[in-house]
Every structure is written in C-alpha cells, then in structure tokens.
C-alpha cells in the first residue's frame, strides 16, 4: 500500500511539474490574418501596429507577449499623447492573439498534454488517497497534523501557498501566459460549450477537479461520519453540476454563462449592466435567471437560514465553501482563534458587505437613471471592487493563503454573502451548536479545528450553546470533540441562546457565568 501511495505522489508531482512547464513550450507566430480575425472592426489600426511581429517565430511565450505588449502599449501611449482619447484601445487582445498565434506540441497533441498534466496528477492523487486510513477503524485522523510540513506552515506549506498565489496572480492579471494551458483543455471546452477554452474555463476545470479529488480524500478521512460524507457529496455535486457543467451547456445553447446557485452579493456583478442585459436578452430562461437570482436573495437566504443556519449554503452548496471544505481541509486548523482576529473579522466582512451594497445601489440607480451623472463613478466602483474584492481578496488571498491562514480566509474576512447569511443566522435562526451540559474538558480540539476561527471551547466550557454569525456549520468541532459535547442542530428558538447556563452536576450553589 505504501508503495502505491509513493508512486501516486510521484505521479502527482510529475504531472504538476509538466503542468507548470507547459506555458514555456511551443512557438508563436503572428500574421495579419490572425490579427484581423481577433480584433474588432474599429481597431483596424492594430493591423499596422503589430506588423513588425508578422512572420517572426518566437521560441517562447514570454518574448512574444513582451513584444506584443510593447507595440500595443506604444500605440496607445501615442494616442494618449496626441489626446485622441476616443481612439485609445481598452480591449484586452493579449490573450486571444497569443492563443491564436501559438503552434507547437501542445497545439498538435492537446489530448496528450491533457492526459499528462491533468489526468496523471489526478490518478496519482487518487493512488495516494484511496489507501489512506484503509486498515484503521473509523475515527478522527488528526495524528501528526502539527508535525506535518505541509499542514503546519513548514517548507511544503509555504511552497504550496506561494505556488497558489503565483497562479492566481497570473490567472487574473496575466492570463496571456496561460494560453498553452487553455489549449490543452480546448477539446473539453468545445465539447461542452462549443467555444475554445478561456482562462476561466481552465480555472473552472482545475477548481472542479480539486473539489472532486479532495472530496474523495474527505470520504477517507471522515469515514464513519455521515454528516461529513453527505455534506462532501453535496459540495461535489453543486460544483460539478451547477458551477461547471450547466453554465457551459448554457453557452452551448447561446445563453449567458450562469451559475444558478451563486447569490448576490457573492455574485457581485449580478446587477451589472452586461449581466442584466444578458439575462433580459435570453428569453424565458434568461428571465428565470433574473427572477430566480432575486428570489434567492430576498427569500432563499432568510428562509433557509432560518431553518438550517447559514450552513445550508456555506458548507453544503457554495463553490468557495466547497473548495475550502475539500482542498482546504488539511489547513483548517491554521485559522487565527484570537479575540483580536474576531474583531478584525467583524469590521472587514461587514465592511465588504457595505461596499457591495453601495456599489450595487449605484449600479441599479444608474441603470434606471439612464447612465447619467454617476456613470463614471459606478464604473470606477466596479473596477475597484472587481480588483480588490473579486480578484485579490477572493482569489489570491482566499485560496493562496490556505497554507498560511487557514482555508476560510475569504469566507471569514471578505465574503459579503457570508456576512448577510451571518446576520440572519445570528439573529433569526433555529440553528445552534448545542453544548452537552457540563461534559466539556476544555481540551481545545473544537477551537483548533474550527476553520472560521471561532473559539468554540470558550462557549462549551461554560456550558453555553454556540451561536455565532460566522459559523458555517461544517460540523468538524462536533466530529473532533473527544467527549461528545457538541451537536449541530435546528431546534426551537427558545433556549437557543442560553446566556446564563449552569454547569449541571453541582447542587451546592449556582454561579452564573
């Protein structure tokens, strides 16, 4: 078994290396035909601008992209100098032109690279995962967590975090370097949506695969715990079907790409002009998308959260939650449990909610007032929100920081939907984590393994139920508790918040907490 696992690790690392090298192989040649095909009619000038590149064969992508950017930027700078503001090109052609100019092994044998850089690591990972805990009885498997270099900010953890951060930075702001990788999944994209793969399709593939493969790891790790297993099936299903397949199929049917389980304000551009136009322009199904989205916001969130707490979304459905609960599971204990962190968290997460609400308010007002006065301000808000929150926070920090600050950095400090769900959960919900009388021994396992950084034992050791806005109901505190003290449940609101619980067992006197 050990040999299979080591072999699996080797395959995984080998595949990952290949994946990381793919952007560096192949040749790139641009000609007028490609340029003409990729640019809009009003940008015909570019045909001339890029002329010096035509026919040159670049032996690697960086040189090609550098040259392209040089010519492109020089042209724009000239226009700006001449104050020809309406001719300045704001479109991003770097990705599409680079992709179209590539020719090399990846373009010739995309499926071969698909197999080597995607299937191989998956097979390797599964070879490692399936034998995990095979001969062990059911139970919690945290042995050695804090001795692990990967899980306890050792060199492996730092390396992993750095790789992830680097990947996200390139994905969001320099995707033209990833065109080879997208070519590798072109076939799959064509099959699903009839379109060649963008960087976002590549990202969707990786994201979904991470949830599926690491979801299988969850089954091994939490075997014997039905709550964890069913919950993991749920996030795997919603990612695969709702976030990955259905949106692509919608594109195939000439509909806008749409994730039916994503809810504003997490889905922060739901009310942006292009989204609204897209939905309104797509017939009955488009209208359904709009109405369904609004129903989720104003009815779905409060009603489901009233009955089940925010867990119905955060740890059962949400894509960010799905990744955190699978890929991020090995890092859950790295979240900061201090009171200080909680204070910062409350300012930040509610701050982002306010930002999202204000931005959306402006957007809607603008929409109805015919893009008058506030056009520029709204555009600016959109840009800054997209850059700061949508990309830097949710992506780079949200996932890249798993090995440094735990798997829920985004959900805890940044997600505006989590903030909204949390307000409902705190003040009007039947959900709580019940503490079992006086059985807590303050051991600290619950707090340690709480991904949201809740100091669970602070409540449990005083016999108090845990009712916190941030709790995503992952159920791990209950699973790791060695004394059976914690139970997640939906029960009557009466007695949910027991401010002055008494540790039962002492008949001498009653001391209130």
């Amino acid at each position: 078994m050990k040999i299979i696992q080591y072999l699996g690790l080797a395959l995984f690392v080998g595949g990952l290396l290949l994946f990381s090298l793919i952007p560096f192989i192949g040749q790139f040649t641009l000609d007028a035909e490609i340029t003409d095909k990729k640019i809009k009619e009003e940008h015909q000038e570019l045909l001339e601008v890029l002329k010096p590149m035509y026919g040159n064969t670049y032996s690697h992508q960086i040189a090609f992209v550098n040259d392209f950017n040089n010519y492109f930027d020089a042209y724009n700078d000239r226009l700006k100098e001449e104050e020809k503001w309406d001719e300045v090109i704001y479109e991003d052609y770097a990705f599409s032109i680079t992709k179209a100019s590539a020719h090399g092994p990846v373009q010739q044998h995309p499926w071969l690279f698909f197999a080597g850089a995607l299937l191989l690591p998956i097979i390797g990972a599964l070879m490692y995962i399936f034998p995990l805990h095979r001969d062990e009885p059911d139970g919690i498997k945290n042995n050695g967590t804090y001795f692990s270099s990967m899980k306890n900010r050792g060199w492996l953890g730092i390396l992993t975090g750095t790789y992830l951060i680097g990947f996200y930075i390139i994905l969001y702001w320099n995707a033209e370097y990833l065109t080879n990788l997208t070519d590798m999944v072109d076939g799959l994209s064509m099959f699903l949506s009839g379109e060649p793969a963008s960087q976002w399709f590549l990202y969707g593939c990786l994201y979904t695969l991470a949830i599926l493969v690491m979801g299988i790891r969850m089954f091994r790790r939490y075997k014997g715990n039905p709550y964890q297993i069913i919950r993991t099936y749920s996030v795997m299903f919603f990612q695969l079907a709702f976030a990955f397949l259905i949106p692509e199929i919608l594109v195939l049917l000439n509909m806008p790409w749409h994730d039916f389980k994503n809810i504003w304000p997490l889905d922060y551009d739901f009310f942006f002009e292009y989204r609204i136009e897209g939905m309104l322009g797509s017939g009955a199904l488009g209208m359904f998308m709009l109405v369904w989205g609004i129903i989720l916001i104003i009815l779905g969130v409060p009603i489901f959260t009233y009955f089940y707490g925010k867990r119905w979304y955060c740890s059962w459905i949400c894509g960010c939650g799905g990744l955190a609960e699978t890929l991020g599971d090995p890092y859950r204990h790295l979240s900061d449990k201090s009171l200080k962190a909680w204070k910062i968290e409350r300012y930040m997460v509610h701050g982002v909610l306010v930002f999202a609400v204000v931005m959306t308010g402006f957007t809607i007002w603008n929409y109805f007032s015919g893009f008058g006065l506030l056009g520029d301000a709204t555009g600016m808000l959109h840009q800054w929100y997209g850059f700061l929150i949508g990309a830097a926070f949710a992506g780079v920090i949200g996932t890249g920081f798993y090995p440094f600050m735990g798997n829920r950095v985004w959900c805890r400090f940044g997600c505006p939907l989590a903030a909204y769900l949390g307000i409902v959960q705190r003040f009007k919900s039947r959900f709580r984590i019940t503490t079992n009388g006086g059985q807590c021994i303050s051991c600290g396992n619950c707090s340690t393994y709480c991904e949201m950084g809740i100091d669970v034992k602070w409540y449990a050791q005083r016999g108090q139920n845990i009712v916190r806005a941030s709790c995503v109901g992952c159920g791990i505190c209950s699973a790791v508790c060695p004394r059976g003290v914690l139970k997640l449940e939906n029960k009557s609101e009466k007695g949910r918040i027991n401010e002055h619980p008494i540790i039962i067992g002492n008949d001498s006197i009653k001391v209130e907490n």
């Binding site: 945290n142 692990s148 009388g437 004394r483 139970k487 029960k491 039962i504 067992g505």
Partner: protein, 460 residues
Amino acid sequence: MIEAANYCNHSRDRHIVIIGNGISGITCARTIRKRDHHAKITIISGESQHFYSRTALMYLYMGHMRYENVKPYEDFFWEKNRFSLIHDWVTKVDLAEKKLFFKQSTDITYDILIIATGSIPKKFGWKGEELSGVQGFYGLQDLNEMEVNTKDIKHATVVGGGLIGIELCEMLHSRDISVTFLVKDKHFWGSVLPEEEGSLVDRHIREHGVDLRLSTTMEAMEGEGNGKVSRIKTDKGETINTQFVGLAIGVTPNVALFQNTSLEIETGVLVDPYFRTNIPNVFAIGDCAEFREKPDENRKNIEQVWYTGRMHGETLGYNLTSDKAHTYQPGVWFNSAKFFDIEYQTYGKVPATLEEKMGSFYWEHPNGKIGFRITFDAKTQAILGVNALGLRVSHEFFDCAINNQWKINKVMARLNEADFDPEFFDSHITSILQAYNHRFGTQITHKKLSFWSRLTGTSL
C-alpha cells in the same frame, strides 16, 4: 451553612493565594473574581505559566494540537482579570506566619491559602522503577520526558488498565510504536466498567493492534548497563523486551509540600464539606483534597476528576465571597472519556459489579462497538445510572431523569430525547427500545416524526 465571619478572612484587600493552576484552582480564582473585585488574587504554578487543559496533554504528543491550543484562556485574560501569576515552585510553607517560599522568586504572605496542588502518578515500588525510560504521565514535564524517552523506539509497555493507561497506548500507537498493555483485571478498567463494557473496549484496543494482556501484572523491570530499561517481567513469568515503560496505575494527592507541617494530611489534605482544612483560612480543593467524610454515599473521599475539580473550585470560590458558606453537594455523578475511537459517557450510578436489588439492561450493537446500559432500582424501578459507549447521550436529560427518579419505563419512552449523536448518524435509540421491549415484555413506542418536522427540526 456557616456565617461569613466564621468562614474566612473577608477584609477588603485580602490576599488570596492559590497553589496550583489546574482546573480546580483556576475555577476557584475565576469564581472569586466574578464576585469580588477587590481581593488580590495570586496563582502559583511551577508546572506552567498559564492554565492549560491537562486532559488534552495526550493530543500534544499526538500532534493534534500545540501547547497554545490547549490553553482555555488567551494570555491577556490573566492580566485583564487582575490575576497575579507566579511561575515557580513553592519550596516551603510557613502556616503560622502565612508565608510561602519559592525556588527562585521572593517569598510572599497570604491572608487566605487555597491548596490545589493536584496529583502525582502512583508508584508501586517495583524493582527497576528508577531506570531511565520508565515514567508516569501527569503533567507537562512528563510530556517532555516522554518525548525524549520514546524517541526512535520500537516497542513500549504500558502498565495499568485505567484512563491514563489507555491514553498512553493511544499516544504511543499514534507514533507507530508497538505497545504491550498490561491490565491487572479481567478486562479494561475493571474497577469502573461492568464486564460487557470492559470487553467492548478490550476488543477495540486489540483492533488497533495493541498487545493487550489481561489479568497480568508487572513483576520487575530490568535494564542494560546504561541505566535504560530494556525488558520487563510479568507475573506470568514472561519477559517482554521494551524500550519504554509507562506507569499508569493511578494517581495520588500531591501533598509532599505539607508533610511535617501542622496541616492534617492522610492521603490528601483533609477537609470538611466546606473545603476547610484544620487551619483557619487554609482550604484545599481538587485532586489533593480528601474529605473527612464522603460528600455522598456514592462518592469517594478523594475525587480526582476534571468535573469534580471544577465543582470544588466553583463551590469554594462562591463560599469565599458569600454571606453564607454552603457545603459541597455534588449532584448526579457524570464523567466521560474516550478509548481510542470510542467515546464513553456515564451518568449516575453504574458500578462495575451489580449491587443487590439493582436491575440492569444492557444493549450492544451487532458491530460490537456501541453499547448502552441502564441501571435501576429493582424494587422502585427508578433509574440509577447510564453508561453509553460509542454513542452520545444528553447530559441534561439523564441529570433530570436520575434526579427525579424517573421509572425506567418512562426513561425508555422518552429515550429519543436523549439522543445526542450528530445529524445523519444512524440512530440506535429504536434498536435499544426494541431490545428493551423484547426483554421486559413492554410495548413502549416513540412518536414517529413527520417528514416535514424531520426536514426542518420543527417538532423539537
């Protein structure tokens, strides 16, 4: 009840000094501070700067947590609540002058002294006890010693079939060290668990690959020339090669500091039901205290459990800050533990051997890893106690049922309210009830929940 003036010093700026920062001492300090803003409170510990959860020590060795994780309060807590902490060992107590002397710090005086020094591992006087690689397991220093003693070893032996014994087995097992576990009784924890429960745990210990030897005791330990333990001999005449011996035959009050003082000591520091020692303004709580008379016929003179330590601390803290002092009256007994992967909870009275006129009903899951027992008064049918292994049950429910002497049929009829297993777990309540009905010829049923109320939890 005793009037405050006759109980302790109540001066406004009295200095209360607590020796020991375990659960008893800290609960006492917290309770005092909640009710008295003026008293000066000093907590002394040579073991650690801050309070940590002793019950979680094993998880540090197993890599589940770091030391920071097992501190129940953040470090700012102590200053915020004006607790002075002295991290030093007390070397001498002058009870007449009310003075404490330390290994390093300067001596201090107190107005009220609370002794909460806990326990030390019991030793038996075996031959070879002094060898290196032989140790007990109680505190942080033992943990550090064990790190050194078990580095790169292959085989270990644990002696003593109780809670610390099985914890040591689990700890060693987590580091891939094979373990021989010597248990004196016919089954694990024979002084507390009835045979069925004990056997259930025995099977689980073996399932983890531990070499469990029942009805076996250690005769002697032997070492090589280098002073390290290398083998042990059992009473069966076997020799077991081992590089580590964990002694876990129990703990005994840590009272060495008070030997040859005017403080009355037997095994522990003798106290009355108000935790008063024979010396005014000196009190003792927790593991180190020994009641002159049992608090209750079902209780022992020395209570060495986390929960009782907490109750001692709470009661004394209340008494020191109250108009009237109350006697210590523990309610329904409860305790819990975890044996490798099997959780154990107990409420009320479930003795290892059934007493006369005591009825008992035991159910076990076919997988042999989940067990449930109820004991009751054979005459009145009133519930006496419960053991639950591998399933979680509600403390509040059984505290209420046992306190109010519910008849066993009533308990069974409402047993579904006692289920504390996580959502989606197979409920064993129905199987338990069926087995009960079958055995006692009863027809008790539980109300079936509608789909809607199961979906939303609205009926609960």
